[in-house]
Symmetry: D2
């Protein structure tokens, strides 16, 4: 339960880290949308860890389209996308089966599912599941592109190093130029250093990713509960390690006065804008026509190689745990791709509900 | 669309600020739960603004139970709760009908609903709608109490003034002793001063509310999408003015190392705990048995009495706007009550799904 | 739980037969739709029993619009519609509280809700709940009318008396001319006789209602589960006493050969039709452009004045039961109005999903 | 959209007749349920056409478990089940691409999906999709067995030949003894003859399937909309060719008097029963503890080899169509297996909602 999201553009994720595959079913995608496995593949490839930052797990991650696409166009039927798991080594996980890793879902999943959950590689709770979001996101981005909406994300903080404010153009130009996916190239260097230091001490670090949606028309979002903020936040919290979500000025707005935080309206060329965008493109839960701006806090990945204190679930005694195996020192750069995907999926759903995205692409 | 939330404990909100009433239907509440209008009334009364902080609108806000309760117990049928609007003066809103207030939903609602939305008093987008959440929350809290779960919230920041760290006991003792609902009584004084200064300059200020859920058993939350974080966040963003939500260490976790942020497990009296609670009581989207801790950023209420820049929607020209009428200088203390309500409703839904809360209370 | 239906046009029913009111919340109705309490009232009035056929309960049934309508137009916000219960006499139900009436929900509700259900007048299971469907249907019909869709129903069988085949025009002309709402006026007379005979022997009789939706464009329905048939059937089974639903040739199709049952396609004036309509206007779960035709079997109302065998839930012994009080001899004519309402609500939902009905009526 | 059903036990179907596969994702299955691919396979094998009755398409139909099962037990994670399509020949469908087959979804799908639907073999509208229901049903049956619920179905009518009334024991004993799956062995012979005659004239015939659920406890079903009838009916209409659904006495109840149709209650060995079961085990939308009895009307399969009248969608002119290729003369016997599956899936969902089926099987 809980593995589907979206009312009109619904995605259902399945698969485990060390099972046979991970996959996703997209139901409600407009018919007639041109899409190929290669396009989806290129998004999935972007999620792969860069050398020296992420996990050495060498997944080839080949995307297969199982249904819903015919003659390279969507048919209106559910689209099933699959990645076979290939580079799987579960031996480590047998060893630590009863030693829940701090900061991981091992303990809570064990209780909730009565010990029947697939514990290998974190099973259903692995970051690997986000590959399924990225596949769905690739389709959603293509659909949004039909109505001019563009989604992009970038790293704005890693290990305490913050990027300067950048333009959307800088993001487009710089993000793929550096392994941390930061549009401020100077900060990117410092972030890399911070990651390097953390890796050397067997530790991990977190950061903040910012996502933007450009050219979103006024009218997405269905208050009071299905707001743009609410729907995006819920979906973004499906990314393991995300512990905070804020829009526009976000927590900073809590320290502003109304006169500072309110975005004044203005007319330019017969169109209405706001002079500033502290609202992050959302007023009353509805998109305002300004860029939708969201930031997510990514905690340091809990897998570290230092010894940690845990318990033995069989003996119910305290125990020490040292995790071996492969893991990322900093997953923030990979999260950038996932944030884009989740944003695209959510906005696609809201655009269909608002009848801004048609059911058939002509 | 979008006015319902919850899969097993579903609430549907209706009503407008200056219409005849605001109300809520609760569907899925366990049968046999003792509840009276007085109990719900006392929660709604807590939401009322304190003298000198909030709006002078003198709502009497009398709760009526229209259905679903028989002999002071829930029947298993949908519960409709209603508050008639009494102290309504819409004259001001006719004047500013085509002058969208910066920071409000006036403009986006006008576009989305083709100008047919009820603009009086913000209509459906008024903070008054949160009274419906509070009614549902009163019922949900009563249900959660059957399984020992307690929800409480407090102000941790207003206008830049932050409270010191407090215990759950201090919250219980102190929150209702001061009008800003802050458990740090010294900080409370400073917060009151900040509100006073803002009011005098015709401005508004925001802040941060922290919510806690105690005695939550392991196992609430349905990953990957219906996580405790995701469900709580979506619901909390239904509170107007909330622009950020974080759990446990939240955005602070982004600046920590894995070795600092991971909460070590330990066994005490045959039960498993974590030594720290940076996870905010949630691991892998599932409750861990530790207190669930969430913080929400509340922006300064957009209604200020200073002159602001806006546009005239009829003439499509720039315009100046001075809002008269009644509004809160700081809604943070009132948001405390609403956060508690939203948390209770969401946890009730998740507890029913996890079959931790029964369908019939014996 | 289970008191809402519809994905984009969602209705949530509440209230009990002998509580303070019955009501419904409509969420997702297009904005800008002209609607008045009088229009809804006139539909509700049609549901009232005709003299000599139905219950003598003299409900005045005055419709109140609590929200979602402003200046006689829908606003896009949820619409709450209410009818206060006035003519309530619960004394009889105290007497038979532990004597479940055969054919009624008394026993199953008592078990399911642990004895906490409101048993007075059938509580939530009373036919009176269908008044809430009729209110929602009145709004839905108005919305459908904007895109030319018309819904109508008529009695085709009562107590074994069947009506001859009639045209849509005959239905329009004749249904409101006779108390059984049968378009075949000769059959109507015989049906009235049958009802009369049943009443005299303290018995009840059932029948069949046929519903039609005209001018439904091709494309409503979302296979494989949210088909036109599936969505209509689910909603129609919410009418107490409905025990069967069939489309087009229905159960009769089971006795036909493919060559007889297949509806040949033909082109006329550049438009595609089928020569016959055994499919009931639905192919593959999607509307075909032909009239949508559905028939529902209405069982005889279980409330009869003859003595019946039941059990005493307190003593767990067999018991005899004679129901006093007010009840219909035949509810089929009243069901006609409810079938129309349910059809309208369901088609409205499907039309919004198919983007055939816009979110704003200009 | 519309390819998922179930609130707590949710199935999402995907795949096309002539695509690479058909599959289903089950979300919400209790953890700890023992299940193997072989068990699912044996259900799928039962759906295969018997020699001389069904299509000669020689699908091997090998079931693969892609996720959600670990060490032969369900994990609580979504279960993806897949059947690769092997014996696919689409040449015929290219020929008739613009000639919609009467009684099929070709025309409506073409309009709804703008001509982008996969038309080969009926694509998403093929009876082959029901193989995905059968896979889900195999899992659901296993889950229901944990709480003693048993689901079974049998043919009660084919081509106008009706079976006599049979006991549940006779169904269990006889259904798998004859290719039409009829528990009345004499009628079975006549049904076979009827099928034989229809095949010889290039025609097809329909029939009626009855489904039973035994040992269903009191309390499943969530009125007013999510009734046992409503949920079963909606799900059953997902079976292509089903045009009618009735419960208990069904349409026959419309011809009975209340005194005949009401099922008297009685106490036997301290338990409450009804003497008759005209209600089909459902009162007020809630299971009564008596067997749940449903009958579905299956239209004659529209694929016949006789020449039929249709239109050419390219030229918009009338046209004659003769379908070649492989198709069933009578799909009723295969529908028996699908009805069982759909019933199991639906009851599993309702049992989880009623908390009668636990989230973890110990």
């Amino acid at each position: 339960m809980g593995n589907s999201i979206g009312r009109m553009f619904t995605i259902t994720s399945f698969g485990e880290s060390h099972g046979s595959c991970v996959g996703i079913v997209i139901d409600g995608c407009p018919a007639g949308l041109p899409i190929t496995a290669e396009e989806i593949q290129s998004e999935v490839d972007r999620r792969r860890p860069e050398t020296g930052i992420g996990t050495p797990r060498a997944e080839t991650d080949i995307v297969e389209i199982l249904s819903g696409v015919f003659n390279d166009k969507t048919t209106g039927a559910p689209i099933c996308l699959l990645i076979q798991n290939r580079d799987v080594d579960s031996s480590e996980y047998e060893r630590i089966r009863y030693l829940p890793r701090p900061g991981h879902a091992d303990y809570t999943a064990w209780v909730k599912y009565g010990g029947f959950n697939d514990y290998r590689g974190g099973g259903r709770f692995s970051g690997r599941i986000t590959a399924t979001f990225v596949m769905a996101g690739a389709v959603a981005r293509k659909a949004l592109a039909q109505i001019g909406i563009e989604v992009l994300a970038h790293t704005v903080e890693i290990g305490g190093v913050t990027a300067r404010t950048v333009t959307a153009d800088e993001i487009g130009t710089n993000v793929n130029k550096n392994p941390v996916r930061c549009a401020d190239l100077e900060a990117a260097e410092k972030m890399l250093d911070a990651i390097d230091r953390a890796r050397k001490e067997g530790n991990s670090i977190g950061g903040v990713v910012e996502g933007l949606a450009l050219n979103v028309p006024v009218g997405l979002g269905e208050p009071v509960f299905d707001t743009v903020e609410g729907e995006l936040a819920k979906a973004l919290f499906a990314i393991p390690a995300v512990k905070g979500v804020e829009f526009g000025a976000g927590f900073g707005a809590a320290r502003k006065k109304g006169s500072e935080n309110n975005d004044p309206f203005t007319v330019r060329n017969g169109k209405i804008f706001t002079v500033t965008n502290n609202a992050g493109g959302i007023l009353g839960g509805i998109s305002s026509g300004m860029p939708v701006v969201v930031r997510v806090a990514v905690k340091p990945t809990p897998s570290i190689s230092q010894s940690q204190q845990t318990v033995n679930l069989e003996t119910m005694t305290n125990a020490a745990l040292t995790i071996r195996g492969r893991h990322d020192t900093c997953i923030v750069p990979r999260a950038v791709v996932v944030v884009e995907a989740i944003m695209a999926v959510t906005l696609c759903d809201l655009a269909l509900r608002a009848q801004i995205l048609p059911r058939v692409i002509k």
